[in-house]
C-alpha cells in the first residue's frame, strides 16, 4: 500500500476522528512516516483540530499499527481500500464526506453496479417481509446491487431476496468486519460474501456501538442511487438513512402500508415529505432512468381453473389482508378438517402463505 493510503488507514484507527478531519490531516502530512514525526504544534495548525483532538491524536499515535492492521485484514481475506485508491467505489466518492478507508470482504466488483439501498424496521411485519424480499429479488435479477445493513428485519430480508435471485448484494456493517452483528446472521453473511460483498468503514475489532450506525447509514445511502424505505416506525434508523440520501442528492422511495399499522408511520411520513411512493420496481427504475432487463414477473400465472370447487372457494376468501382459519371455516360453512387440508394444498401450490398467529394471506 502506498504511503498516503497507509496514513489514511492509520488515522482511521484513531477513534472519534471524522472523515473530514482525517482528510485534512492526510492533506497536511501526505505520508505515514511524516505523520509519525508530527509535533502537537503541527497538528494545531490544521483547521478543525483543537487542543482536545490534538491530545488524543498524540496519545494514539504511538499505539496505532497500520501495518499490523493490514496484515490482520489480509489474514481474514479482507481488503482495505482507501480514498486514494483507484478502485474506491465511484458512487461513494461523490458524497460530501466519503469514508477514507473501506474494509471489503467478498466480491469487490458488485460495488460498481447500479445500486439501490433497501432499508427498514428491525421488527418487520409479514407485509414488510414480502415487500423487501420481492423488491430485492426483482431488482437483483436485473443486476442491481442491493445495499443494506444486514440488521434484523427488513435489512436481512432485502439481502435474502437478492441472494435468492442470485444477484449482487452488499451489506454495510456498523462494526469491524471480523464481528458479525446480529450474531444470528452468520450464515447470511457467508451467503452475502459469496454473491456480493460486506463492507465497513470501521477498523477490525470495533464493536457495534449505537453511535456507529449513523455513519454506517451514510455509507448505505451513499453507495446507492436511491434508498427504498420499506417499513419504518415513527422514529427509526431507516429515516436517518433516508435523510442522508437526500443530503447526498440521492432519491428516496417509500412503500406505503396500512394506515393503522405502526410500522407504516415512518414511510408515510416520508411520502408526505415528498419521497416517491413506490408500488412496484417500475416506479424505481423510471425515476432513476434505468432499463428494465427482465420481464417484471418471472413466475407464471397459476391457472385458477385447475383448482377444485372448494379449493377455489377458500382461495377467493384469502386476500392480501391476513385472515384467520376460524373465519375461513365460518365463511365457508365447512369444517376444520377440510379447510385445513385445502389450506395445505394452496400453500404448496404457492398461492397462499401461512403467517404467524394462524393467519393466511395471498401470495
Amino acid at each position: 500500500m502506498k504511503e498516503d493510503g497507509l496514513l489514511l488507514v492509520a488515522l482511521n484507527l484513531i477513534p472519534d476522528l471524522g472523515s473530514l478531519k482525517i482528510q485534512s490531516l492526510a492533506e497536511r502530512f501526505k505520508s505515514f512516516s511524516d505523520f509519525m514525526k508530527a509535533k502537537p504544534n503541527d497538528l494545531l495548525e490544521i483547521p478543525g483540530i483543537g487542543e482536545k483532538i490534538c491530545e488524543k491524536i498524540i496519545a494514539y499515535k504511538s499505539k496505532i499499527e497500520p501495518h499490523r492492521e493490514i496484515e490482520k485484514a489480509e489474514e481474514q481475506g479482507i481488503r482495505i481500500i482507501t480514498l486514494f485508491d483507484e478502485d474506491y467505489p465511484e458512487q461513494l466518492k461523490q458524497i460530501y464526506d466519503p469514508p477514507p478507508v473501506l474494509y471489503i470482504k467478498g466480491q469487490r466488483p458488485v460495488l460498481d453496479n447500479n445500486a439501490i439501498a433497501i432499508v427498514g424496521s428491525r421488527k418487520a411485519s409479514a407485509y414488510g417481509r414480502r415487500v423487501a424480499i420481492n423488491f430485492a429479488k426483482e431488482l437483483a435479477s436485473m443486476n442491481i446491487n442491493i445495499v443494506s445493513g444486514m440488521a434484523r428485519g427488513i435489512d436481512s430480508f432485502a439481502h435474502k431476496g437478492a441472494i435468492d435471485a442470485g444477484g449482487p448484494t452488499t451489506a454495510v456493517f456498523g462494526c469491524g468486519l471480523d464481528i458479525v452483528y446480529p450474531p444470528e446472521n452468520v450464515a447470511l453473511m457467508q451467503r452475502i460474501i459469496e454473491c456480493g460483498s460486506v463492507i465497513s468503514s470501521f477498523p477490525l475489532g470495533v464493536v457495534p456501538l449505537p453511535m456507529n450506525f449513523p455513519a454506517r447509514n451514510r455509507i448505505i445511502s451513499g453507495l446507492a442511487l436511491g434508498t427504498l424505505v420499506v417499513e419504518a416506525a415513527e422514529k427509526s434508523g431507516s429515516l436517518i438513512t433516508a435523510e442522508f440520501a437526500l443530503e447526498q442528492g440521492r432519491e428516496v422511495f417509500a412503500v406505503p402500508g396500512n394506515i393503522f399499522s405502526p410500522y407504516s408511520r415512518g414511510t408515510h411520513k416520508l411520502i408526505k415529505q415528498g419521497a416517491k411512493l413506490v408500488e412496484n420496481t417500475d416506479d424505481i427504475l423510471d425515476e432513476l432512468y434505468l432499463e428494465r432487463i427482465h420481464n417484471r414477473d418471472g413466475k407464471e400465472e397459476f391457472d385458477l381453473n385447475k383448482l377444485s370447487v372448494p379449493e377455489r372457494a377458500i382461495f377467493e376468501l384469502i386476500d392480501y389482508q391476513p385472515i384467520q382459519i376460524e373465519q375461513l371455516i365460518e365463511k365457508t360453512q365447512s369444517n376444520s378438517r377440510d379447510v385445513n387440508a385445502i389450506l395445505t394444498r394452496l400453500e404448496l401450490k404457492g398461492l397462499i402463505q401461512a403467517l404467524p398467529g394462524g393467519y393466511y394471506v395471498k401470495n
Binding site: Q324, R337, D338, N340
Partner: protein
C-alpha cells in the same frame, strides 16, 4: 397380657399388612412404641391415652409395650391410632377379642375418641382383601372409598366406642353399595365442549390429540380461551376402565386428595400446576417419595399454562416420564415408582407481550426477547409434542353463536379411533399413535402415491425436518383412524400438515 390387632401401612402406591402387638405388664407406668414408627405414629400415644379416657374406658397404669411388625419398615401416618387403642383395650380385657384377628383396623383418633378420616384407605383395602382378611374397620368418611373393593366387609365407624361395640357384636354397620362396573357410564363433568363457542379449528385439533393421545401445544394471546378449553379435554377422552379408575383412586387416596365420602374416581384428572412449581412438586419426592403433579395427572391431562414461565429444569424433568409413562424416584429411605401416563397440554403466548404475529397490534418485543422466550422450551421437549396450534382470540359473534358438538359425541368418535389403534397395535407393546417409534411409523404409516407426492412437495416447500416429518405421519395416522380408514390418504396428510411445527410461525425471526 398380650393382644394383637391387624392394620396396614403404605409404601409408595403399595400397601402392606402391619401387626400391632400390645403387651401390658406390671412395672413402672410407661408407653413405648417400637417397630420404626415415624413422628405421627409416636405421637399417637397421647391421642390414644386421651381418647380411651374420654370414651369412658380405663387406661391401664402399667408398662405398655407396642410393636409394629414387620419391624424393619418405617411406618407413617396417624391411622394407627385406632388399632393401638383397640389393642390396649383388648389386652386389658375391656372388649371381646374374638373377631379382632379377622379384621384390619384403620383410623385416626381425636382426643375425645371420635374417629377421623385418613389417607390411603383404598390401597390398604386392596391389600387386606389379598391377604384374605374378612373385613376392615375404617373411619365412616372413608367408607365409600374402601367399599370400591368387592369381597370384604367394610365397617365405617365414627368413634372408638363404636369400634369396640362392633367387636362386641353390639353394633351393626349399615350395608354399603358396592360400585358396579357398569355405573361408570354415568360420569358427569363440570364442563362440556358445546359450551365453547367458535374455535372450530382448535376443537378439531383437540379431538385428534385425544384420539391419538398426542401431546399438544397451544400458542395464542391471553384471553383466547386456551385454559377454558383445556379444562374440558378430560370430557372427550375415552372413559376410564375400572382398572384405570382404581389405579388413579389409589394415587389420590395416598396423596390425601380424595374428598370424604367419595368412592372411585371416574373422571379423568385435570392438573394445572402453577409455573412456580418445584422439581419435587412436579415429579414427586420427599424423604419417603410422594406423588407429584405428573402422577396426579395419571390417565388424564397435565396442563401447563404459560409454558415458558416454568423453570427450564422443571420442564426437562418431564422428558423421561413422557416417554416411559412412569417415574422412579430414588431417595435415601426408599425408591418408589409411580405411574404417570398423562397427556401434556401446554399453552403459551407467542412472545412476552403476546402480540407477535398479530397484524393489528404492534408487538413490543425485540427479536432477541422473543428468541429468549422461546428458547426456554427445549427442542427435545417440543419433539414430544406432536400437535402445535395457533389459537385465535374469541370473537363476539362466537360468544353469541349456536352451541356446537357436545363432548359426548366427540368422545364416542375418540373412543372408536382408540379402539382401532388398540386392535392394530396388539402385541406391539404400544396402544396409541403417539407412541409410534420411527420403526413402527415405517410399518404402520404407509403412504400411497398421492400421499408420497404431497409429502415430498411439503418436505421441500415447507422446509420440514425429519422429526417434523415423523410427527406429521403420526398425526395423519390418527386423522385416518378418526376417519375410519385403514390407510393414510392424501387429505389426511394435508390436514396434518397444518398442525405442524411451531417453527413455521417464527420464520420471520429467522432468515
Amino acid at each position: 397380657m398380650l393382644a394383637q390387632v391387624k392394620s396396614c401401612s403404605i409404601f409408595g402406591l403399595e400397601s402392606f399388612l402391619v401387626d400391632v402387638e400390645v403387651d401390658i405388664s406390671s412395672g413402672l407406668p410407661a408407653f413405648d412404641i417400637v417397630g420404626l414408627p415415624d413422628v405421627a405414629v409416636r405421637e399417637s400415644r397421647e391421642r390414644v391415652r386421651a381418647a380411651i379416657k374420654n370414651q369412658n374406658f380405663d387406661f391401664p397404669i402399667k408398662r405398655i409395650t407396642l410393636n409394629l411388625a414387620p419391624a424393619d419398615i418405617r411406618k407413617e401416618g396417624p391411622h394407627f391410632d385406632l388399632p393401638i387403642a383397640l389393642g390396649i383395650l383388648a389386652a386389658t380385657s375391656q372388649m371381646s377379642i374374638e373377631a379382632l384377628t379377622d379384621y384390619a383396623i384403620i383410623g385416626e383418633l381425636s382426643l375425645d375418641g371420635k374417629v377421623r378420616p385418613v389417607n390411603g384407605v383404598l390401597p390398604m383395602a386392596i391389600e387386606i382383601k389379598e391377604k384374605g382378611l374378612k373385613g376392615v374397620v375404617v373411619p365412616l368418611e372413608n367408607d365409600e372409598e374402601a367399599s370400591v373393593i368387592e369381597g370384604i366387609n367394610v365397617i365405617g365407624v365414627t368413634s372408638l366406642s363404636e369400634a369396640v361395640a362392633f367387636f362386641n357384636g353390639e353394633f351393626k354397620p349399615k350395608k354399603n353399595q358396592v360400585v358396579k362396573d357398569d355405573q361408570r357410564q354415568s360420569v358427569t363433568f363440570d364442563g362440556d365442549f358445546s359450551e365453547v363457542k367458535g374455535q372450530e379449528n382448535l376443537k378439531r385439533c383437540l379431538e385428534i390429540a385425544a384420539a391419538g393421545h398426542h401431546n399438544i401445544a397451544m400458542i395464542g394471546s391471553p384471553g383466547s380461551g386456551k385454559t377454558m378449553i383445556a379444562r374440558r379435554i378430560p370430557t372427550i377422552l375415552p372413559s376410564m376402565t375400572f382398572e384405570e379408575s382404581l389405579e388413579l383412586t389409589k394415587i389420590y387416596s395416598i396423596a390425601g386428595l380424595l374428598s370424604n365420602h367419595s368412592g372411585l374416581i371416574r373422571q379423568r384428572p385435570f392438573r394445572a400446576p402453577h409455573h412456580t412449581i418445584s422439581n419435587v412438586g412436579m415429579v414427586g419426592g420427599g424423604r419417603i417419595p410422594k406423588p407429584g403433579e405428573i402422577t396426579l395427572a395419571h390417565n388424564g391431562v397435565l396442563f401447563l399454562d404459560e409454558l415458558p414461565e416454568f423453570p427450564r429444569d422443571v420442564l426437562e424433568l418431564l422428558r423421561q416420564p413422557l416417554e416411559d409413562g412412569k417415574v422412579t424416584i430414588a431417595r435415601a429411605n426408599a425408591t418408589i415408582t409411580y405411574p404417570c401416563k398423562f397427556m401434556l397440554v401446554t399453552a403459551m403466548n407467542p412472545c412476552p407481550c403476546g402480540y407477535y404475529g398479530d397484524p393489528f397490534h404492534e408487538c413490543s418485543c425485540s427479536p432477541h426477547q422473543i428468541n429468549r422466550y422461546l428458547s426456554k422450551i427445549s427442542g427435545p421437549l417440543m419433539d414430544r409434542i406432536d400437535l402445535q396450534l395457533q389459537v385465535a382470540p374469541v370473537k363476539y359473534s362466537d360468544l353469541e353463536g349456536p352451541s356446537t358438538t357436545d363432548s359426548e359425541t366427540i368422545r364416542k368418535r375418540v373412543e372408536a379411533a382408540r379402539l382401532i389403534q388398540l386392535e392394530r397395535y396388539k402385541g406391539q407393546n404400544i396402544h396409541c399413535n403417539s407412541q409410534l417409534t420411527p420403526n413402527l411409523i415405517h410399518k404402520y404409516c404407509k403412504l400411497d402415491k398421492d400421499g408420497k407426492l404431497l409429502m415430498k412437495e411439503a418436505f421441500h416447500n415447507m422446509k420440514l425436518t425429519a422429526r417434523a416429518y415423523n410427527k406429521i405421519l403420526k398425526v395423519a395416522r390418527t386423522i385416518a383412524d378418526l376417519d375410519n380408514k385403514s390407510s393414510i390418504k392424501e387429505h389426511h396428510l394435508a390436514e396434518a400438515l397444518q398442525y405442524r411445527n411451531i417453527d413455521k410461525y417464527y420464520q420471520n425471526l429467522r432468515i
